[in-house]
C-alpha cells in the first residue's frame, strides 16, 4: 500500500485555456502549473497573450474553454463542473485570494497610500480600522514608504505609487501575486526600486506570476520562464535554459535577438 501523493501539487493550475476576442484567438490551449513559492516569469512579444493570461487568473477576463484552478478551486466558474459563471459575490471572494499589480498602478486617487491598502483589508478582510492601519503601515515600511502613509497618489512618484500598489496587493495576504508589466510605465531610474521590492517578496517565498520585459531581472529572480508566442506557450524552463544560447526554438531565438538588439 502506498500513500497517494496530493492530488493537486500545483497552487495555480491553468489547463488548456483558450480565448478569442472576436475572430482573434488570443489564447490557444495554454497550460501552466505553478507550485507554491515559485516565481514564474512570462515573456514574449506584444500581442502574444501574456497580459490576457494573467487577467484570466483572477477572472478580470473570462475565457472560452479550459480551466483555471487555484488550490484546486475553479476561479471563475462554479464548482458544479458546468461552465456557469460564479455569482459576483463569489467572484469577489475568489479574487481576494490573488493579488494583482498593474502596469499603470491604478491606485485609488481619492485615498492616501495607507487608505489604498486599508480599503481591501477593511471591506474584504473585515479588519478594524486600527488593525488595517497597522497592517498598512507594516507593508509601507516593507516597501520603504513608511513616511508616505498619508500622501495621496498624486503626490507620489511613479516608483512610489507602484510600491504602494504592491503593498496594497500583498497586504491582503494573497495565495498568489500577479504582476502585469509593473515597471513598463516607469522612468528607467525608478525601475530598480520597484524590482527590489519584488525580489524581497520572492525571497519571502511569495508565489508570483509576472509578465515583464526586464530580462535581467527575469533571469535572476525567476524559478521558471515561460515564453509565449501567438497565444500559446512556446517554451518553458529554468532561466538559464530559456535565456541561454543553446535553446532550440526559432521563435524564442529571434525574440531574444530582437530584444537584445533594442536594449543594448
Amino acid at each position: 500500500m502506498s500513500i497517494a501523493p496530493p492530488a493537486n501539487l500545483a497552487l495555480l493550475d491553468i489547463s488548456d485555456v483558450s480565448k478569442s476576442f472576436g475572430s482573434v484567438e488570443v489564447l490557444r490551449s495554454v497550460s501552466l502549473q505553478v507550485t507554491r513559492g515559485e516565481v514564474v516569469t512570462v515573456i514574449g512579444p506584444s500581442g502574444s497573450g501574456k497580459t490576457t493570461l494573467l487577467r484570466c487568473v483572477n477572472f478580470l477576463e473570462s475565457y472560452d474553454s479550459g480551466s483555471i484552478r487555484i488550490d484546486g478551486k475553479e476561479v471563475g466558474f462554479r464548482d458544479t463542473g458546468t461552465r456557469q459563471r460564479r455569482s459576483e459575490r463569489d467572484l469577489a471572494k475568489m479574487r481576494a485570494e490573488t493579488g494583482m499589480v498593474f502596469q499603470s498602478f491604478n491606485l485609488f486617487p481619492h485615498l492616501t497610500a495607507a487608505g489604498n491598502i486599508m480599503l481591501g483589508l477593511r471591506k474584504v478582510r473585515g479588519k478594524s480600522s486600527t488593525e488595517a492601519r497597522a497592517i498598512a503601515e507594516h507593508w509601507l515600511g516593507r516597501v520603504g514608504l513608511a513616511h508616505k502613509a498619508d500622501s495621496l497618489p498624486a503626490e507620489l512618484s511613479g516608483g512610489q505609487q507602484q510600491r504602494v500598489g504592491i503593498a496594497r496587493a500583498v497586504a491582503m495576504e494573497p495565495k498568489i501575486l500577479l504582476l502585469d508589466e509593473i515597471t513598463s510605465a516607469l522612468d528607467p531610474e525608478l525601475v530598480g526600486e520597484v524590482l527590489e521590492v519584488v525580489r524581497s517578496l520572492a525571497e519571502d517565498g511569495m508565489t508570483m506570476v509576472m509578465v515583464t520585459h526586464e530580462m535581467a531581472f527575469a533571469r535572476d529572480a525567476s524559478s521558471r520562464i515561460v515564453f509565449m508566442a501567438d497565444g500559446g506557450v512556446s517554451a518553458a524552463g529554468p532561466p538559464a535554459e530559456i535565456l541561454g544560447t543553446e535553446i532550440d526554438n526559432e521563435r524564442l531565438r529571434s525574440f531574444l535577438a530582437r530584444f537584445r538588439a533594442s536594449h543594448f
Binding site: A92, E97, M100, L107, F108
Partner: protein, 221 residues
C-alpha cells in the same frame, strides 16, 4: 420728458424682495438636493442596466431637456391635478417640477462622470476582492464626484436663476416680489435694476463659494 429714478418705494417694500430671494435660494437648494438623488439613482441604474431601462431613462432625460421649463411648470401645476386626483400648493408643485428638471440634467452629468472613471481603478477594486456594490461606493462614486463637481456647481447656479419661472404660478420668490412691487408702485426700472443686482450678487457669491468647495475637494483628494 425726464424719468427720475426714485428708489424710495423699492426700499419701502424691500422685505418682499429679501423674502423672495431667500425663497428662491430655498427652492434651488431643495430642488437640487432631490435632483441629485434622482440623478444619482438613475445614472447608476443606467450604467448597469439593459437596453429597456436605458431607453426609458433616456426618454425622460430627452423629454425634460426638450421642453421649456415654463411649460413643465404649467403642466405639473395646472395639467396634472386635472388628470389625477391630487392637490398641492404652487410651491410644492414648483419644487417637484424643478427637481425633475434638474434630475434629468444631472443624470447626464453623473452618467458621463461614472463612465469617465478609469477602467484600471475598477480593475484594481475587483482585484482586491470588492463586490460590485463596494466598488461603486468606495471606488467609482468618489472619483465620479470629483469629476462632476464643476458641472454640479454650474447646474446649481442655473437652477437658482430658473427659480424665477416660479413667478408664473405666483410662488412669491424674487421675481414675483419684483412684479408685485411693479404692479403696486409702477417703479418698473428701479425694481428690475435692484432685482437684477440681487440675482447678480447672489449668483457671484454662490459661484465663489462653490469654487472654494471644489478647490478644497480637489486638495483633499
Amino acid at each position: 420728458m425726464g424719468y427720475t429714478l426714485n428708489f424710495n418705494l423699492i426700499w419701502r417694500h424691500f422685505d418682499k424682495l429679501w423674502g423672495g430671494l431667500l425663497l428662491s435660494l430655498e427652492l434651488a437648494v431643495i430642488s437640487i438636493a432631490i435632483g441629485i438623488v434622482i440623478g444619482l439613482l438613475l445614472a447608476v441604474w443606467y450604467v448597469s442596466a439593459g437596453r429597456a431601462v436605458r431607453t426609458v431613462i433616456a426618454a425622460y432625460v430627452e423629454f425634460i431637456r426638450n421642453v421649456p421649463l415654463i411649460l413643465l411648470v404649467y403642466l405639473v401645476f395646472y395639467g396634472l391635478p386635472t388628470v389625477v386626483d391630487i392637490a398641492y400648493s404652487a410651491q410644492t408643485s414648483f419644487i417637484a417640477t424643478l427637481s425633475l428638471y434638474s434630475g434629468a440634467y444631472l443624470v447626464e452629468v453623473f452618467r458621463s462622470g461614472l463612465e469617465a472613471v478609469p477602467r484600471g481603478q475598477l480593475d484594481a477594486g475587483k482585484a482586491i476582492g470588492l463586490t460590485p456594490w463596494q466598488r461603486l461606493v468606495h471606488v467609482r462614486l468618489p472619483t465620479m464626484l470629483r469629476i462632476t463637481l464643476p458641472a454640479l456647481s454650474n447646474t446649481f447656479l442655473s437652477l437658482f436663476k430658473d427659480t424665477s419661472v416660479a413667478s408664473v404660478i405666483s410662488v412669491p420668490e424674487l421675481t414675483y416680489g419684483a412684479q408685485w412691487i411693479n404692479f403696486n408702485t409702477f417703479r418698473i426700472v428701479e425694481v428690475y435694476l435692484v432685482v437684477t443686482a440681487m440675482y447678480l450678487l447672489t449668483g457671484y457669491a454662490l459661484l465663489y463659494a462653490l469654487r472654494l468647495v471644489e478647490r478644497r475637494f480637489r486638495a483633499a483628494h
